[in-house]
Symmetry: D2
Subunit: 477 residues, 4 copies
């Protein structure tokens, strides 16, 4: 397995196809490094004896130790460990762990490819296993890329007025295919080694060019990563905090006629399997959310309780009720995620697939509650979470003492602690990194709530409930 | 194991201490028989090969096959089976299965009594095991009785202006104790063989007389069961339906100086263990709710889908969204119940205790959503769920044809089916049995939502969340 | 104006076309009388000096004093008085005042008919004014009848497989028309003097036979009222209470080829005005809901507060929060109803029409919260609201003293008062009258929440909001 | 009345007591000017014939035309105009209009001071009227300052371990008093001419030093404004938009032993009137929220509808439902605000005071829904609201064309328009200005939801509801 330093060294060598401020930058740009810091953590902890059990697994293809994020789940235990690992890492970094993008993608493909081969005589699963071996041995970072821009939302892929709104094959060669299009909202892509692509939706038989799945190096010719940076506000040195060392680059990843060699192709035109790839990634990613979302809730509830404590209102009834509500959201999601693992099943390739219904109701519940949790933190924090003077004011020889005096709360709590707690609240409530990765991604990541509704209704045995109701109502037919 | 008939025969022999309309009635009164019908089902199915696996278990004390409701859980698998069994029985009977009252009570006592003995040198666990053997061998029905009237809600038991508002010991004899007081909201008691009592709350050291747990025959001298009957409206013969064969008697069970022999006592004055008995029953009962509440939700969602189908709106967006919401409530509760079993732990007596946090967040979520589910059924059903003419009108030679004509919905659905579906909706939405056992008990049974808040906050490791937040905020102290 | 006695005398003379239990009954049947009791109250109070200002108005056509429910609103003040009057009457009777059905219908027709005449040269408004004069002078009760069975919900009126699922003209004669069909969910109809009919929806040009509005005596030949009775449980004499003197009969009103004379026709084929009639009644009725729904909320919040007081928890934080929520629902609805009156406008006939947006958002808010209010009452009441032993048990020489003892709460509150308060809670939470008229009608009466969504979106100037957003976003086009 | 330019000229002359980045800055600092831009708008529009009616009023003391924000309301019409004016200005500027801080403060004091004089023989009302004349004639901007830091939340003002956590009098002189303390969350203060202070809460008789209300110039010796800046991200010139021209400075306003002359004192020690001042400002401010909050909702709903339109999903059911919900929140708040004005009452000074209950239920509803509205916008916008590449990427010769291509939605919508609409969503959802002034202030401004609960319960006649319930339940006592 790589070390954090090796990872950053490898990033540095890549072709400059990451764009910020309208120009190409190297992957040694400080903004890339800061955003990649959370990935660095996954290398560090994998080599830390305390976290080794959580952060590593044994490859089912090589028997070697691999990073858990590069592992294809083989058992209930694997899924439970993944869930636990993600929650723990979100706790430690105070945010999105990002690396699950690649993990969920390899699991989704692993669960589907063998069935395509069985139906069509293709060799996608072999391609995939060879790729996985390379991926695991080199301890790579994969950017799972699924979401197309989708253009006009009521037109199908092939009916878009701009035909490139869904990524598609524009040329077929003996040695591979050329693809054109774009994948959006690509967290992690600017500091990933590889991009792994699957279709975004169910396809019809005549939409073969859109049924394409593959993996390529992230700096392949023709790939452009047009990024949006999301960081918290800069801190004064003496007021710096672990959480402020993290951030995120979101990428609009353009494929401007990019060549993909045959051995890197995992689906190519078998439209009836498109949903297996699309929903496969989504399913694993929703299961990951049953770990990360409670991990974020842990931060929110912990901070809410801490601020309540500093204000000396921790034991008031309305605070207790709100804490119980925060806990309930987190543990319903996590508990149902456990159920998803416990009732998971093996598919043809031996890959362990979590329960669709439990994954979706859990992810849905998380998505429906994220803004409500923010509301609760705001409620208990009070206005200072918005109006807290910044570190320069806190440090100011002219007014710093006033700042310290008038943020005082319960006797005995050092003023710097109060400032730090409110500054965290301010980062969470008004900072860009938080709004992007907790709020918006909290609603849409892994599929918006409406996508979970669709998944639930598509997989739930509602008819058996109807039949039972007919029985107890005495309806025969 | 007994048969349904043996059970009803045994009921018939009991002393007349059940009261309806202000007078004592026999347990062969048609109202008792109707209410006990659901218990009969638990005898029938235990002997039905299709349900044997669900409905029976192997006693850990005798190795004999016993009804699952008389079994003390010994494993994760036991807890999962119990949960599944309860959901299934609620589906089949369209309502509350009731017998879990006894099951949860024996489990709660089994989990606590051995620790009292270890601390005090008492022999409660031996008493309990002897009792359990008798209970299992005779396949008895136990009425778990916990809730005292509680009088003035801000006064403690010993400070009540009426000292009997919490059941307590009024006389101590060499061979036992005499108790006085009342247990309320006792579903099942009027057709149970035994009453099993535990305290309702945490007690202080000087409240010894209130720290009492025991079991006695339900017709013991001095016991009065003052009942409230809850049935659906009577049906015409040709329009009868399975669900209308069930009902419930709720009992205010008075203990008017009742003697309890020593061998039937499971706690007697050890106040610091009172909460173990009180919360032990509650915990198992909340876990049972993770089975029964989704079972009721199954009925609501099935009927909602059926009525939507009859009206030809099953595929409209707003119906689908609402069905997804109903499913989500049910499966979050059930899934988190699975997690409660999966993370359950053995205690000193070998009894398997489900996870407190998962049981409570699941029960809480169920309680917070029950009226919302009713709202959804009402919304999709439309006004006819309230205004449907009854069976006499449907059967009327004078106006029956009009009724049939004007309840028509989608072409091809027999009018009787539509009437039956709406009649079920009417029973559920406007019937007394449903209001009592689904709505009010759905909120309060096993503990009101506020009790779950207390249980959650009392058991959750919120401090570790605070410490983690301090870490990422850079707060050292 | 009539007295209560004259009203009941007039009812007695009517043809027997009311059906209960499958047979025709006279309007002097005790069930009709009990249901009509609330109407009696509107006669009594109109002659009570204390309520005269609220209950009466001055007819704009005759200048005579008329019952406010028979008045066509002419001013902001009229609408505010109507709203206040309805809330007050709901308070006094503890339930639905029912007579607004006729009031809202005459107002809706009055607001629309003149415009039909202007467009088509018809004389519907003259017909209406003549009818109104008769209606006011005889102080009649009108049953507003709008809702058709509607059969297959996705088929239009003329495309139903059963052509009578929407009431329609089946024969046109020189002196009138013959209609066939049915109007459902007709509260008040079995004890109304007159039935007043309007279409239920917008119609297309070829649906002329469905564009029909008229008024006829309630016992006209061919009219059948197939009723559903909704009462609270019977009380023992010594425990009787005012609220138990009320009830409701809901009617499925069949028009089996009923002749309507020309002078009683208010719309006949002018399809483009169908929505004016349909939505006109609905609009006034939704405005009435801004009075009655807060009136019901008054009962719920009053009882919640009373039970909290009896239990001695009135001042606890969670009770106060829940009371604030109950008040907020009531006063948002009532306040927005005031705004609807304050921003009302006169139409061509001089009729004062309340503001569409405010009426609809208020009614919608009421409908979305009704089950939530029930939930709150259940929450604070505790389980006794379901399991309270009935009056026969309370009065029993054998067990009555036990009942009295164990329903005790705060010291000093007479046991009968506690029983009465809980009995009211039991009626409200588990009684049929309440479920039908507060819960189901609370959701659907005057139009289900989804109908208000449609009305809101159809009338709101959302485009101006879009234009404003374009402006501040710098979008020009 | 002043012009915008005169206002900015006056600001420039003030003493440098505004702090950013830890140092004192002039009020001609670009950040102050940008934040003050919204105040400039209130000067501009007051002189614009189209808005004159909304933006100006006639002074009740001089008969001169004054800016509406400097007017003391004398009638229902005044209150309605104020509400309408605020909503309109929020629409035009896309945000908080800020100047109501001063308006609500002068109205609150005007409603209370005369009664203090009547009780104590003081001359506060005369002081106030003289001040008001000066305030109106010079068309000044007032910063309403009420919220103290409050330190330990369960300790009263005089019991704080740091005695300055509530602003208080530290010295009494013949010509005035010296005050020490701090007022926090002071929107507008850094670019106001005057600071107007009232107590934050009800006081006990021995808390006289805290019962202090006064007005002083904002740059008075001893006053320090320690600010937090809140702006949207900078835009490229060609992509600038009106909304990006606005912002906000929040001030922690320190009073470091500041002298207040007698003629500027409006309350000084009359503790029993403290709540009249505290709640008076709050009441007017909550009424202002019934204007501004719907004004912000207009932006949210307009943008939601615009983005739905660009994506071609405007007519889908789930979008329509969500739009109806957004409209309902806005119009319930606005409608109930109308009711608050319509039922307002004159007090002794002639000041028109809006209805307490309606103001509070409306503000409460707004506060409870703000995060839900953000959730809805996020839901409909999709992930691009977070990941939109910025203006430099849009303008980039290297990748700009890719950005334009892959943000395309419905055919025919210019790409710049789509970018602008999503950039506005990004500002609103992830920008600091929005998080501070819409979200946090949307919850806490004018009083957190819990403060409205307290105000509602303190003023609502719940006893009459209890009495009515007793009546219908037959309870006599």
């Amino acid at each position: 397995m790589r070390t954090r330093d090796q990872y950053f060294e490898d990033l540095k060598k890549m072709r400059k196809n990451v764009y910020l401020d309208g120009v190409a930058i190297g992957r040694d740009d400080p903004r890339v490094i800061k955003a990649a810091n959370v990935i660095g953590k996954t290398f560090d902890l994998a080599q830390d004896p305390e976290f080794e059990d959580l952060l590593t697994a044994t490859s089912h293809i090589t028997g070697e130790k691999v990073n858990r994020f590069n592992h294809v789940n083989q058992s209930i235990e694997d899924l439970l460990k993944k869930q636990e690992c993600i929650r723990k890492l979100c706790n430690l970094t105070g945010g999105c762990i990002q690396r699950c993008m690649g993990a969920d993608m390899i699991n989704g493909i692993s669960a589907a490819a063998k069935d395509v081969d069985a139906a069509h005589g293709t060799n996608y699963y072999e391609n995939f296993i060879n790729y996985l071996k390379y991926f695991q041995e080199n301890d790579l970072i994969g950017a799972g890329s699924q979401t197309d821009p989708k253009g006009d939302r009521i037109a199908r892929p092939a009916q878009q007025w701009d035909p490139d709104q869904y990524l598609h094959v524009v040329e077929r060669r003996p040695d591979g295919v050329v693809v054109r299009g774009c994948k959006v909202h690509n967290t992690i892509a600017p500091y990933a080694d590889e991009i792994i692509v699957v279709p975004v939706r169910t396809l019809k038989p005549d939409e073969t060019d859109y049924a394409i799945s593959f993996a390529i190096p992230a700096d392949t010719e023709g790939v452009y990563m047009i990024c949006k940076e999301c960081f918290y506000l800069e801190r004064e040195d003496n007021l710096d905090a672990p959480i402020n060392g993290y951030g995120d680059l979101e990428s609009m990843t353009v494929f401007d006629d990019v060549f993909v060699p045959n051995e890197r192709i995992f689906l190519n035109g078998e439209t009836e399997f498109s949903d297996r790839y699309a929903l496969g990634f989504a399913l694993y990613h929703r299961h990951s959310y049953t770990g990360c979302k409670p991990g974020i809730s842990d931060i929110i509830m912990g901070l809410t309780a801490l601020l309540a404590d500093y204000q000396n209102i921790r034991k008031t009834t309305h605070v207790k009720e709100k804490l119980a509500e925060l806990i309930s959201v987190a543990e319903l999601v996590y508990g149902t995620g456990i159920a998803a693992a416990y009732t998971s099943q093996k598919v043809s390739s031996g890959t362990q697939v979590p329960n669709t219904i439990y994954c979706n109701v859990a992810r849905r519940h998380a998505g429906h509650n994220i803004f409500h949790e923010w509301d609760t933190l705001t409620d208990i924090a009070g206005g200072l979470c918005a109006t807290l003077p910044d570190g320069k004011q806190f440090n100011s020889p002219e007014v710093g003492e006033f700042v310290k005096k008038y943020i005082r709360r319960k006797e005995g709590v050092p003023e710097e602690n109060i400032w730090r707690a409110y500054a965290l609240a301010q980062d969470l409530l008004t900072g860009e990194y938080s709004s992007v990765t907790f709020q918006v991604a909290g609603v849409h990541g892994g599929g918006s709530p409406v996508m979970e509704d669709i998944a639930i209704l598509g997989n739930y045995d509602l008819n058996s409930k109807i039949e039972n109701v007919k029985h107890i109502a005495g309806i025969k037919d």
